[in-house]
């Protein structure tokens, strides 16, 4: 296509906005293919892209007349290509463009979406560039903003120099107006062109249009164009220019954006933001967030603070449980149940079962049987309560609190009760039967080892808890705290609790009220000092255990002696039996009276031995002393070696 002779460098006004583009264009025209290849010029319409491009063509041609310069718009190129395809002259088309030394391609933004033309363009581009031919392109936007443009074309278009042409500044506009006036041979009174240049036209084409109108007004002679009426004559054109471009551009959007921010800030629910932030955080760590998610569905604002702290507490608990569980079974690491704060209960149960299974709490001692427990009026209430507990554990008296002086048989009764419970269930029941001293020692050890969770779990899974000498816990804050939780946990699930103490709950000193009230909530029974009939039965039992068939007088005598506890009765029997053995006489009421009330018949030396064995009540306590050492012969040989 012929180059329009009007568009040359000579009449292209250079200002700050287009200086770079113009010098690049000149360099290209002076040495096509050497400087910037391709040269990609972009700007809004009407700012002189086409002018600049054609000026390159003219100058190049002027410097090298033999140069083959081709100018086309993309639309024309597409049309040409289509015609070539239709007429089967595609080869001629290719050859023609392959022979071009300087290709000027206008409005390449219209390549958008034209796949066929783009691939043809790509081929052409490669051919020309390989042979060092110059390409100049213009567009209304930079290459990467052209919609649906093949990436390979984008990189090729951007491979040389991409330069933009901005809107002319005031001085440039004045210069443009003056040049145009000269071209047109028009003359205006001083200041008119300057006033006109002050109007912010969006582009040079509009500026030129406005100048044409002024020239027309002036030529028609109807109106004299003056500095004062120049804006008026240009009418809303001028108003529009003032309002729509320049400084206002972007500001309108910025102010819209800032207003919008205010509205959003006003109407956004900050609590939702907080909940979602927490959700995102915990979700990333693998925790289920359904609990939080549900609150988002509501329209009411919940107590977010409480909600989040509840959620986080649950997670802390889960973490502790997970650690506990993996300590026993590493394959449980990251198990699902430890990732859902709504399944804490489930996780607790799992861990408790594992631990309960791993280390069962101490059970009742088997030597204390219910059959050997003698019942009399002084303890029958407690025994009766124990028996009904065996019949229906957890149902009737829960907790059962037995109190009485030491040696009155509390420990026996409690252990017997535990054994009965185990026997009754056929061994299915886990019964913890423990002295409070051991309970406290275990707790201290667990605190020390950091295995408190495991310790707790052991007690929380039992089917019945029997705790002897519970008054030992009094004054021990942590023990009471833990006992309180164990108690609640068991009680809530209907499991039997039996406690024994020297004193009734209300007289146990330094026992926390919350425990006291709970202990009193079931049945509190006292085992009193053994009455005559009980003493009689106890005496008979102890004597027969010593291998003595007692006569009535001996029985009556020993039973008639006052005793505070069963243990005292046992000690008395033990003493008279031992003495009789040492002296070597059969035991009868007369000997017993003599032994117990003075006037001894035995030799002094033997007395001393007997006293040594008998006087210390510790050795008389069958509960506290181990009399039968298993495997003694084996151990003796071991020591001997």
């Amino acid at each position: 296509m012929e180059l329009d002779p009007r568009f040359r460098f000579e009449n292209y006004i250079v200002g700050s906005a287009n200086r770079l583009a113009v010098s690049a264009a000149r360099a290209v025209a002076q040495a096509p293919g050497a400087a910037y290849n391709p040269l990609f010029v972009y700007s809004s319409s009407g700012l002189g892209k086409t002018h600049l491009m054609l000026a390159v063509g003219h100058l190049a041609k002027q410097l090298q007349p033999s140069l083959c310069v081709e100018y086309a718009t993309v639309d024309e190129l597409v049309e040409e290509l289509n015609t070539a395809v239709v007429s089967g002259a595609i080869e001629q088309f290719k050859q023609r463009y392959a022979a071009v030394d300087l290709l000027l391609l206008d409005d390449v933004q219209f390549l958008a979406g034209r796949r066929e033309t783009q691939s043809e363009m790509l081929r052409l581009f490669n051919t020309l560039q390989r042979s060092g031919k110059q390409i100049v392109l213009t567009s209304d936007r930079p290459p990467n903003e052209i919609a649906d443009l093949d990436d390979r074309l984008i990189t090729r278009f951007s491979g040389g120099l991409v330069v933009d042409v901005g809107a002319p500044d005031y001085e440039t506009r004045v210069a443009i107006l003056r040049t145009k006036c000269e071209e047109r041979g028009a003359q205006f009174e001083a200041g008119v062109l300057d006033e006109m240049a002050r109007i912010d036209f969006a582009n040079v084409r509009e500026l030129q249009g406005a100048l044409n109108r002024l020239i027309a007004y002036q030529t028609l002679g109807e109106t004299k164009v003056t500095v004062r009426n120049v804006r008026e004559l240009l009418g809303d054109k001028a108003d529009r220019g003032d309002g729509a471009s320049g400084a206002a551009r972007g500001e309108e959007f910025a102010s819209f954006l800032s207003d919008l921010s205010e509205v959003v800030a006003q109407h956004i629910d900050t609590w939702r933001v907080r909940v979602v932030e927490a959700m995102t955080y915990w979700h990333q760590l693998g925790y289920a967030t359904a609990m939080l998610e549900r609150t988002l569905e509501g329209t009411e604002e919940p107590d977010v603070e409480a909600l989040l702290s509840r959620y986080e507490a649950a997670i802390a608990r889960l973490r502790a449980l997970e650690q506990e569980a993996t300590g026993i079974n590493p394959s449980l690491a990251a198990a699902e149940v430890f990732k859902d704060p709504e399944r804490v209960g489930e996780a607790e149960l799992i861990v408790a079962r594992m631990i309960g299974g791993a280390e069962a709490p101490p059970g009742p001692q088997s030597q204390f049987t219910r059959a050997e427990f003698e019942v009399g009026p002084s303890n029958q209430l407690a025994v009766h309560a124990a028996d009904s507990i065996v019949a229906e554990p957890g149902k009737k008296y829960n907790p059962l609190f037995v109190h009485g002086p030491p040696g009155s048989g509390k420990t026996h009764l409690l252990n017997a009760l535990g054994n009965e419970l185990v026997a009754q269930s056929g061994g299915a029941m886990t019964v913890a039967c423990v002295n409070a001293r051991q309970f406290v020692d275990e707790l201290i050890a667990a605190l020390h080892d950091g295995t408190i969770e495991r310790w707790r779990a052991r007690y929380r899974v039992v089917d019945a808890l029997i705790l002897d000498d519970v008054d030992v816990c009094a004054g021990k804050e942590r023990s009471q705290e833990e006992l309180f939780h164990v108690f609640n946990s068991l009680f809530a699930s209907g499991r039997q609790i039996v406690l024994a103490s020297r004193h009734a709950p209300k007289t146990v000193d330094r026992l926390e009220d919350r425990l006291r009230s709970r202990f009193e909530g079931g049945l509190v029974v006292e085992i009193q000092a053994p009455d005559l009939s009980l003493r009689e039965r106890l005496t008979a039992r102890y004597l027969s255990q010593a291998g003595i068939r007692p006569d009535r007088a001996l029985l009556d005598y020993i039973a008639s002696r006052p005793a505070e506890s069963a243990r005292e009765v046992a000690a008395t029997v033990e003493r008279v039996v031992q003495s009789a053995q040492v002296v070597g006489v059969p035991l009868n009421a007369v000997f017993a009276r003599k032994e117990l009330e003075g006037g001894s018949a035995q030799p002094a030396a033997d007395r001393a031995v007997a006293d040594a064995r008998v006087a210390d009540p510790f050795f008389l306590d069958r509960e506290k002393v181990v009399w039968d050492w298993p495997e003694v012969p084996g151990r003796a040989i071991e020591d001997f070696r």
Binding site: E145, G243, A244, R249, V263, V264, H267
Partner: protein, 202 residues
Amino acid sequence: MSLVNYTTREITCKIVYYGPGRSGKTTNLHYIYEQVPGDRKGRMVSLATQTDRTLFFDFLPLDLGSISGFSTRFQLYTVPGQVYYQTTRKLVLHGADGVVFVADSQSRQLDENVESMQDLHANLADHGIDVREMPLVIQYNKQDLPRDLILAKPDLDDALNFRNVPAFGADALHGVGVFETLRGISELVLRRLSTPTGVGSR
């Protein structure tokens, strides 16, 4: 489509420019497009006929960046005003969070305006949306035309604005009132943020 998504921290707002043919809906979008800095706007998709009439719809995505920590995106749509593109109009309205009704202020276009407004109501009703629930503003465009050709705002209000929604005079070609209108509808739409889902969720 949810207007505000607290989980992904996004606000997505679909605004439809509705009105009779040649009332200036596309012009509104063009003006906005010109004003928005390059990095904030997506490609404006305009499916226009030879004579620059909207054939299907115009679509201008605006990325408003992070507002109060929410990545905010506006999607501006126009519908083709011509009577025979009824199906397209209904389709574009789907999921809209707000509607700008662009009326032509010329007195001779009054009937078209009224007809289009009725059409809007009918289409919203077809989507099962109560018109009173849908954020709506009206723009009286072409107020720059000579006084004898156009109706004044009170007259237009009488004819079109029976719900007394915010109404703006405008000269969309030159940008007057364009952002005021957009601001107006945005405020109405964003006021609904406190409800978890917009009308468009249907």
